[in-house]
Symmetry: D3
Subunit: 242 residues, 6 copies
């Protein structure tokens, strides 16, 4: 099991990440050279909840009968250890190899994580009892729905090691942000500035969107030319000074 | 066409299956050695309806122009024969090889099945007029939505033979149970006891979930140790005697 | 960039296409020998909106770093040119090779298209900001949701050339019709008569559905025999003369 | 188990099918309206052997533990029954749903079929002991190689019923022809004339290919115009009269 | 149809490309920022032939019955136009959307291209008569083997426009290089220097490989440190001065 | 990086595994309850070489630009560390998530492993320079061929931890056996007896195959009844006493 010491973002950065979209975040990450940061193909079980937290990773590999079709021991089964280890602001991120032919977690364990204050669950495998997650206040993103037990397909092999989830590298402690479109993994060392710049980008885009809605063409507006930027800065200054 | 003589479950078992989840049922089946009983990747058209019924199977194979791009005769086309054969408690289960490039049934035939009292439709292929199923009181689970006619992809080859549907073996007469997560096929010869034990499992799990929601860790609770089980039995006794 | 001169349907045909289903349209097209006209696997972002319009096609090919990871110029980037070219009744149809690993368009450009009066968007790739489309009054059908930028996967290569979208050939000017099931592409030269016959088919089927709902078997009704057809014509005549 | 009474082709037709290519046969079938007759994605284990025979079909469905992880009884297990039923000119065609995660047959049973005079094996699933087929004089086409036992994935459900194999409808008794490219299924009722016309087409094409090799453009040659056809007929006449 | 004016590489560059591997070329392209230049998943029909040429592109889209199930006219059917247009050093590159359910070309047309002096064929679709390509002296790379006619799946829509082939952007005139591993597309404007540097890299690697074969560890050797590089330069100088 | 202490099999067991087939081994493993031990979909680069060795595992996850598009350091890059760590009887088993869009190793590193005495390479990803492996005396099994560099898709994350490869759980030290069909992973703790029993099974099957080749039906022979077994034992005794 890997070591993990979470290094929290500033309160301002966490607040910014709660309101920007994953689309904006991928744009900011692309500016820094990261092309592949959106976990593709996941669906939100509770799309009305936003998620911001720090990756607590769990790695599944294919099951083997002598390891996984046996009674589960909460002290040695790493899935169970994980559930009793996640704490506030943690997002449990499960690498299930995109295998949708079994569940990777169920509603009782998820409830325990909610009680422990977890910030979310992300799995590129299936989820059992998915419809019962309506009663759990926990942002959850899954590859699909499957009622089968984990042990028929998956063996929990590791906690808090770097993993791939939905095609994206996730390090323990990476910042995981979710909105109704899905989930983005932000490398920890760029997260503070990405959060800041993403918020700035969204404020500008909100202004540009209003121009477009008002009938402007995209020329000079999207992307904005100097005149549009100046008008925006002027408008922003007026707001902040009012 | 295969022979089929449905052997109904007890009323108690049918009632139990109406309220337990498919996740619970796969757990019970796994205990009996059946690993692969959940029909993966299907979606409910009417998730608010629960389904319990007996499999009436229909097998599709790839179309051939001289058989399937011709006018349909209700007396020889096996799809039509099936629709006029299903009766109360029957679930029409269609093996469409997971091919989503055409519909496998439409709203008029589904309406006829509803009038005949059918308990549901399960298809691992596409469904035409899917949005019109909102008006049909029939639990329906499909692989996807496709407006194309069956004949462009599928030839109905058999009724009431063993089939594979969504990767699971389904015998005519198997017990088909659906909830918002999807569908499980219970081999007929174990269905009575599975229904009974599934209900017991869910009652216990409801109790355990309350403990978890109240702040218990999973240790000693999930799975429950002897003390937890005794407390549960005591609580259950009090209820039944009140 | 291809030439394109839209040849509009009659007002009657456009009206008919607004109320018939894509399932009915595929049946009418199959009668004329066209088997493959439904764009499979797309999902409506705004299922409550019906779409009728004329294809304005855009072709994407795989990205290349020197072309697509550079600032976008609204005058040379064909995606941007497209957005400022679509007009009323146009449906932007994007051939993204079914690649769901990036977005193909976002909410600001879509808003601009709405302001320009476009009739819809169809893409077999991903869509950014998909949840923000709830605020855009534009029928939109997509292959999936992905927050990543277009440039990480796609290069816009052509406008208004024949394309494949979701497995179907689409010519510029083809009639694109969408309902909650998805999208059908009607070759322009048969669209007028398809629209007419589809409406007739639906009127008849509404009558047949009522018979089925009232307890009729499908024999003699679906497909209808001469007696049923006569009864229908009589009923229809009474309505029109009343 | 279905009934099956093989209706052999003429000796001339069988001889013709032994020397024409599957590409030519799909062209002849397309002329008669059959678009989908080539079993895609199969590979020949013994590409140097040509195959002509009559389909003896076997249908596999997903395994179930109580049926398939038990000792095999040669009298009830349909796979074993099939092996002891095929006779001269029979091609065993296995519908394994394209599932490559187990073998569908092994070298001992294949050897028995060779001794019984079978004409070939076609499976859209995996094959065990594939490399040992080098010692078996039997044209064999498979979806892939897999050393796992059939019972871990497949249950033999039926013999001599219509099946789908590699996406193509195959009726018992259909004419199965294989060359190094793969396998084509010819509907029995058109096979005699298809065989005849395919041979004619190939003779003509051999002539055209010589012209192309000699430097002719394809204009007037491929497809041939009347002058080319006359030259061909003249050349062919000279041969037969010499 | 796009315009195309081939701008040939120097004789030295062409010669270099004939002997370096596609693996070396992708390394050189990656150094220049191009990550995605190898056409994945293709197989060589004639692995013993090396290919160097200039892309002549052809774009296929899904077929439509009124366009593609009609007799082929060599003057209007773009596939036929292409065959009679390719000349020496041309490589016909076909974008078939990775669809393997039909052939994209057959042996007679390929023979014509050979006679015209073409340098190769690359298709991400299927190939008819694949086994007959053994008789055609033409480097050919295909997605798979399929005996079915092009018209059942594909419509030739364009010549010499930018395309995607096997997931890679290919411009008309791009340099296509093939070895037994497959095909790489080199953007024309970097091809001269890539060819030069690739040859240098291979000469160095041949030296390093000998060291490794002789028992050196990779430390200091792969990648080479300054001492190893000096030794290599010395060895190379001795050779050239001898 | 995980710990790894290889516990070698007896010389008899290693010898047995060198001559039995992977098909026989999966049968023996299935008898012990292990259903999923064959690494599906791999192809041998050198099918004429048999492989027996002990798993040295390497885990790849998706690349990230700041980690993988940088110069490789032989002391920190785990792929390089692995190459300089494998020793005699080691099989390097790479978990590349089945991603075929880049190479996972090339010929120079493979050559170094050969010099170090490695027993083989197994990767469920692509292989660069695959055709150059003809010159390396090393049993190698790969998911496919791809000339692209590892860093464009993969980050080496771990050595000698449990992994999944081609859908099968592989523990460090598991016994990896390869034949022309592919590779089987034998859990270390059952490998000694599996090797023994597999050899016995093959000797018996060789006898049975001779009976089948001589014209016996499978009844009483495959599976063998008591009479056949007695005859076999008698024959075997004669051989050993001669």
């Amino acid at each position: 099991m890997g070591e993990r010491e979470t290094n929290y973002l500033s309160a301002e950065a966490e607040a910014a990440l709660k309101c920007v979209s994953t689309a904006t975040l991928t744009s900011q990450l692309l500016k820094r050279g990261f092309r592949n940061t959106f976990l593709g193909g996941l669906m939100p079980v509770r799309p009305e909840l936003r998620m911001v937290g720090y990756a607590f990773t769990m790695r599944y590999i294919p099951m083997r009968e002598d390891l996984d079709l046996v009674p589960e021991d909460n002290f040695t089964n790493l899935q169970r250890v994980a559930v009793e280890s996640v704490g506030p602001k943690d997002v449990l991120v499960i690498d299930a190899r995109g295998d949708l032919d079994a569940g990777t977690l169920g509603n009782i364990l998820a409830t325990r994580m909610q009680v422990r204050g977890a910030a979310g669950i992300v799995s590129d495998g299936g989820m059992r009892d998915a419809f019962e997650f309506a009663d759990i206040e926990l942002a959850t993103y899954i590859g699909g729905v499957h009622a089968g037990r984990r042990g028929t397909r998956h063996h929990p092999a590791d906690l808090n090691v770097p993993i791939g989830c939905a095609g994206v590298l996730v390090m323990p402690g990476d910042v995981m942000v979710g909105d109704p479109d899905g989930v983005v993994a932000i490398p920890r060392h760029v997260a503070e500035e990405v959060a800041h710049d993403a918020l700035e980008q969204e404020l500008l885009e909100a202004y540009l969107l209003k121009l477009i809605q008002g009938g402007s063409s995209i020329h000079g507006v999207y992307p904005p030319d100097e005149a549009t930027l100046n008008a925006y800065r002027q408008a922003a200054r007026n707001v902040s000074s009012s």
